[in-house]
Each structure stands twice: as structure tokens, then as C-alpha cells.
């Protein structure tokens, strides 16, 4: 009777073990597929970042990860997003998106004990600085930095910890500022197609100034132009 009971426990444990393996495989497939596609992207020659462009906390391996991402996504017309460890450079999660949007799904436990930064690209036809929604990082405790690879520059948003009030304020300000800049440039330059490139720069400068003038230790926005 005791032996049968022990056998039953062993069988149940083995069954649970099998279920756990199947679940792990199912969860891992999208990441692997995305990584496969990411690995296949062509590396673009030309300007990119240099190691000193990144915050001091970032290792050289993290620089290699960021540099590779910049080169791989420079000419894409859709968004890619990776979460990586800025101490080890290891890519933790990978997602593909569309021209102006990428959705990430994860289990936050996956990031335990990691130094997490996110990195996504803004294709050429979208505004390069962070959008209002990008300040959502202030709602995610596990993510210390959000990096945005534009066509000709890298935006580094340091935002450690959660700050719901600041998230709301910056979202409102960023959306309103971009609308204002677009309206100003449309009025000033009319139909000129380069008007929105000017708008992109004004928006980035004013957004950085607004954020950095707050002089809050845990949040900072920096723009790094790519170097040849």
C-alpha cells in the first residue's frame, strides 16, 4: 500500500515535470522566433554610438548589444524591442512590432535579479524623441533605462523607480508639446516636407529641457548623436 502510494507520487511528479517542460517550451517559442529574426537582420555600416555615449553603469558588453541593435534596426520601417541586462549585455526578451508600435508581454519574475534596460527603434517616418506613452517606464519598477534608437541619434531615458504622478505629467506635456510643435511648424513652413524634421528637433530639445530642468535624480533624458 505504502509502495503504491510512493509510486503514485512519483508518477504525479513526473507528470507535473512534463507539463512544466511543455509550458516552458511554449513560452520560449515566440522569444526564439523573434530572436531568430533579429539575428538574421543585416548589420548596417556607418555612424552609431560609442561606448562613452552610454551611462557609466553600462558595461562594454551592453554597449555591443546596443550598437548591434542600432545597426540592425537603422533602416527598418517597423519597430523592434529588446529588454537586456545592462551589466552583462544579455538580451532577455525580444519583440517585433509595426511602424509606430510594439507590444511586449512578459512575466516580471523573469527580470528578477537583472539590471534591465529596454531598447526600441523609432523608424525614420516617426518622431525620434520619446513619445508621451514612452514615459510608461515610470510605471515599471524593473526597468531602469529606456533607450530609443532613432535614425541619427540614440535617446537615453533614465527612469529608476515608479512615479505615477510624473508619468501622467510627462505624458500630458509630451503629447501637448508635440501637437504645439507640429502646429507651429505647419504655420511657419506651410507645405514644406522638411517642416516635420524641424519639428522633431524642437520637440526633442524642449522635452529634454523640461525633463532635465526638473532636476530629479532618478529621471534624465539625453540625446546622443551617432558618430562615424
Amino acid at each position: 500500500m505504502v509502495i503504491n502510494f510512493l509510486n503514485l507520487i512519483l508518477i504525479m511528479k513526473f507528470k507535473n515535470f512534463l507539463i512544466a517542460i511543455v509550458v516552458l517550451v511554449i513560452l520560449k517559442v515566440p522569444f526564439d522566433k523573434c530572436m531568430e529574426k533579429y539575428d538574421d537582420l543585416e548589420l548596417c555600416a556607418g555612424p552609431s554610438i560609442v561606448p562613452n555615449d552610454l551611462p557609466e553603469e553600462f558595461s562594454f558588453l551592453a554597449f555591443k548589444t546596443v550598437d548591434e541593435f542600432v545597426r540592425k534596426t537603422k533602416n527598418l520601417d517597423y519597430e523592434y524591442l529588446i529588454y537586456f541586462d545592462y551589466c552583462t549585455g544579455e538580451i532577455l526578451k525580444c519583440f517585433g512590432g509595426i511602424e509606430d508600435n510594439v507590444v511586449a508581454e512578459y512575466d516580471i519574475d523573469e527580470f528578477k535579479g537583472k539590471h534591465v534596460a529596454s531598447l526600441h527603434n523609432h523608424p525614420r517616418d516617426v518622431f525620434s524623441p520619446p513619445s508621451g506613452k514612452n514615459f510608461g517606464i515610470l510605471l515599471r519598477d524593473f526597468e531602469d533605462y529606456e533607450l530609443i534608437a532613432g535614425y541619427d541619434c540614440l535617446w537615453i531615458l533614465k527612469a529608476k523607480g515608479v512615479d505615477i504622478g510624473l508619468n501622467v505629467e510627462l505624458k500630458v506635456y509630451a503629447d501637448l508639446l508635440l501637437d504645439s510643435c507640429q502646429e507651429f511648424c505647419r504655420k511657419k513652413y506651410g507645405d514644406n516636407s522638411k517642416a516635420y524634421d524641424v519639428c522633431d528637433i524642437i520637440y526633442g530639445v524642449m522635452l529634454s529641457n523640461y525633463l532635465n530642468d526638473k532636476n530629479i535624480n532618478h529621471i534624465q533624458l539625453t540625446k546622443m548623436e551617432y558618430k562615424p
Binding site: 516617426v126 513619445s131 519639428c199 524642437i202
Partner: protein
């Protein structure tokens, strides 16, 4: 921010530069609507609401500092 996923998730979205006639028309509608603030007026109102100083020449100064004149 859209929350999705196993026990969490995030959406990273950005704003497209207006290129189609429909997108540009929307900006023109905002500029020409006498009942809403647009451009610098909108920004001034936000600064006043937040109790912050507003530089009336801020756009022009950035254009000059960064040599952005087309």
C-alpha cells in the same frame, strides 16, 4: 499604456510624422478652430497651469540656436 500578457506587459508606441493629406488636414483643423488653443498658445496655457515661466520666443530661439531655418 496597455497592460497585457502573462502577469504584465507594456506597449511602446510613438507618433508618426504627418505625411498623408488626411493627417495634415487634422493639424490644419486644429490651427483654424477658433475654439481651441493651438501652437504656442497651447504651450503657454500649459506652463501657466503648471505655474511655470514661459519664454514667448522659445521656438524661434531653438530654430536659431540649431540653425534650423529652412
Amino acid at each position: 499604456m496597455t497592460i497585457k500578457g502573462i502577469n504584465n506587459g507594456a506597449e511602446y508606441s510613438c507618433r508618426k510624422k504627418p505625411t498623408t493629406p488626411e493627417e495634415i488636414k487634422k493639424i490644419d483643423e486644429r490651427i483654424n478652430d477658433p475654439y481651441i488653443l493651438s501652437g504656442k498658445d497651447k504651450l503657454r496655457a500649459f506652463h501657466q497651469w503648471m505655474g511655470l515661466d514661459f519664454d514667448e520666443d522659445i521656438f524661434e530661439k531653438i530654430i536659431s540656436d540649431y540653425s534650423l531655418e529652412l
